[in-house]
């Protein structure tokens, strides 16, 4: 039986496009120090540190070495994660496994990316297989546009419904002091007027590139009761990896086998039978507006083809039945190595009730997801109840 694991503290930078005022080490400490302060811990209280970063984007190899002091690794066991979009959730999952196993009581997880130091769009091509895929890649944008077209064909969702997702995200982002994009006045018309950069994707449909870091403190049951009055308990963790090549999954985003598999196992572990009713909030890794709609269906929030209706009816808006991404999500902030971790941190914040203007009322159960290259998926259930 796994030991119970709780999140007792989180920390984030104010995410933005170009942190030219600091280097990576300085930026990392901006997330870790508030997390330690919130838990009233010193770095020496942490038994191990898990770190996440996609180093090809910065061209700064072996960050566990050169930033060891900044991420608190001096004389500590650590593991680095480099799993694309899911870096942050791989890092949290590892921290969870260590605490759940009983090996460590306090594990610090850190994810970061400083994209302004490098060139993400070019570096991301090295994710593709050099023999088969690199000569025929069109970046994250081309990939998402093609996936969105398949999804539209399958579901009949409209550009206006995608635009509503963008408006929801960026208005929510305005309530989140850490969010990169904050657009409280954004309208559907504004989104529909933005350039089509690869049909059906408009400029406003895509996430930004951000610099930022996130830190999360995971602890055992005994520590949780000492360190936090209202910890966020991790009730279930599930990971699913898709096959190797971009064309291997039949319907890609539209019917994402990995996300369907991961979330069904997750709900099963957590005893959830109707996610729309039983979840109070979700922080999902959505990347593009169209992806959020497809994910509603993959995650079982609604039946196939019903995602457009979910946003039309305001179900996933703040104040709706199941608010999705009160933080503004990835559409507001994408600092790769931190992005998926921010989903878990924000879900924990909702359960702990410390969300300020972005807080959803009376959150008992929260979903957080990670998503990355070739549909690798992670999913977490957080709860206010340890049992």
């Amino acid at each position: 039986m796994p030991q119970k694991v709780a999140i007792v503290a989180t920390g984030q930078t104010k995410h933005t496009s170009r942190r030219t005022d600091v280097n990576q080490r300085e930026m990392i400490t901006e997330a870790i120090r508030p997390a330690l302060e919130e838990a009233n811990l010193k770095i020496s209280d942490c038994d191990a540190v898990m770190i996440g970063n996609m180093e090809p984007f910065e061209g700064y190899m072996f960050p566990e070495l050169w930033a060891v002091e900044a991420w608190g690794g001096y004389l500590k066991p650590s593991v680095k994660f480099n799993t694309g979009g899911t870096v942050g959730t791989s890092t949290i999952a590892a921290a969870y496994y260590y605490v759940a196993s009983g090996i460590y009581d306090v594990v610090l997880a850190v994810g970061f990316e400083k994209q302004s130091d490098g060139h993400t769009q070019t570096a991301i091509t090295t994710v593709g297989d050099p023999v088969w895929e690199r000569s025929i890649m069109a970046g994250a944008l081309g990939n998402f546009a093609v996936m969105a077209s398949t999804y539209i064909h399958e579901s009949g969702v409209t550009p206006e419904q995608a635009a509503k997702i963008v408006v929801k995200a960026r208005r929510n982002g305005a309530n989140n002091p850490y969010a990169h994009l904050q657009m409280p006045e954004l309208t559907v018309e504004d989104v529909m007027k933005s350039d089509v950069i690869a049909f059906p994707i408009r400029r406003m449909d895509m996430c930004p590139q951000s610099d930022g870091a996130c830190a999360v403190v995971l602890v055992s049951e005994a520590k949780a009761k000492k360190l936090a009055s209202k910890p966020a308990w991790i009730k279930a963790v599930a990971t699913a990896h898709e096959q190797q090549y971009m064309g291997d999954s039949p319907k890609r985003l539209a019917v994402m086998r990995s996300q369907i598999d991961a979330t069904r196992r997750l709900y099963n572990m957590a005893g959830i039978t109707n996610p729309r009713n039983e979840l109070d909030v979700a922080e999902i890794y959505e990347v593009a507006s169209w992806a959020e709609l497809a994910m509603y269906e993959n995650m079982g929030f609604c039946a196939r083809g019903e995602a457009g209706r979910l946003i039309d009816e305001g179900v996933t808006e703040m104040g709706g039945e199941l608010p999705v991404n009160p933080s503004g999500g990835v559409l507001c902030t994408n600092c790769i190595g931190a992005t998926a971790m921010i989903r878990v941190a924000e879900a924990a914040i909702q359960v702990m009730g410390t969300g300020g203007k972005r807080q959803v009322d009376n959150v008992k159960t929260a979903l957080a997801t990670g998503y990355g290259g070739n549909a690798w998926c992670d999913a977490f259930i957080l709860s206010n109840n340890s049992n």
Partner: protein, 164 residues
């Protein structure tokens, strides 16, 4: 009195260290790709492998079916025609990783299920009109001549029929 506007560019140049990385790599193709590209070059055939357990036909060919983990020993020819299961016209410039140059925009791009294959492949499509490029179109591969035995031997796909 307002302060003079700072020249951000000049300030960045002072505070940032530029670095240009050029590294050369040479990737071994592996036995399955060698066979595939030999057939493509010599016979203009697209060859996949069939999993003896689940019967899925894989392009690219690979040592084991990732679902069954059974060695794929049977080679099968798949068609150079297929169906578009997703498509777009890319209008934002992007660096071509093989050349380091910006690929001219706009260009058609899609994911194609070749007849006889269980998997799909991304490729360029010779249509840049959003209204004409739709899911379900029938497409056929255009080949480079002479062929050299790599992915660029398929230059792109042309539309040959209406959506099904």
């Amino acid at each position: 009195m307002s302060a003079p506007v700072k020249d951000r560019k000049a300030e960045d140049d002072v505070l940032r260290v530029p670095y240009l990385l050029q590294m050369e790599y040479e990737y071994a193709l592996g036995q399955h790709a060698i066979r595939f590209f030999h057939e493509l070059k010599e016979n203009r055939r697209l060859m996949g492998v069939r999993c003896p357990e689940c019967q899925r036909v894989y392009i690219p060919p690979r040592p084991v079916c990732g679902i069954c983990y059974v060695p794929s020993t049977e080679w099968v020819e798949v068609s150079d025609e297929g169906t578009l299961i997703g498509c777009t016209v890319v209008r934002l410039p992007f660096i071509d990783p093989m050349t380091g140059e910006q690929r001219p925009v706009p260009y058609g791009f899609g994911i194609i299920r070749l007849d006889g294959s269980s998997t799909s492949m991304f490729h360029f499509v010779d249509e840049t009109d959003d209204a004409k490029l739709t899911v379900g179109l029938r497409v056929k591969a255009n080949f480079r001549e002479p062929r050299e035995g790599n992915m660029r031997d398929i230059t792109n796909f042309r539309v040959i029929g209406t959506a099904q």
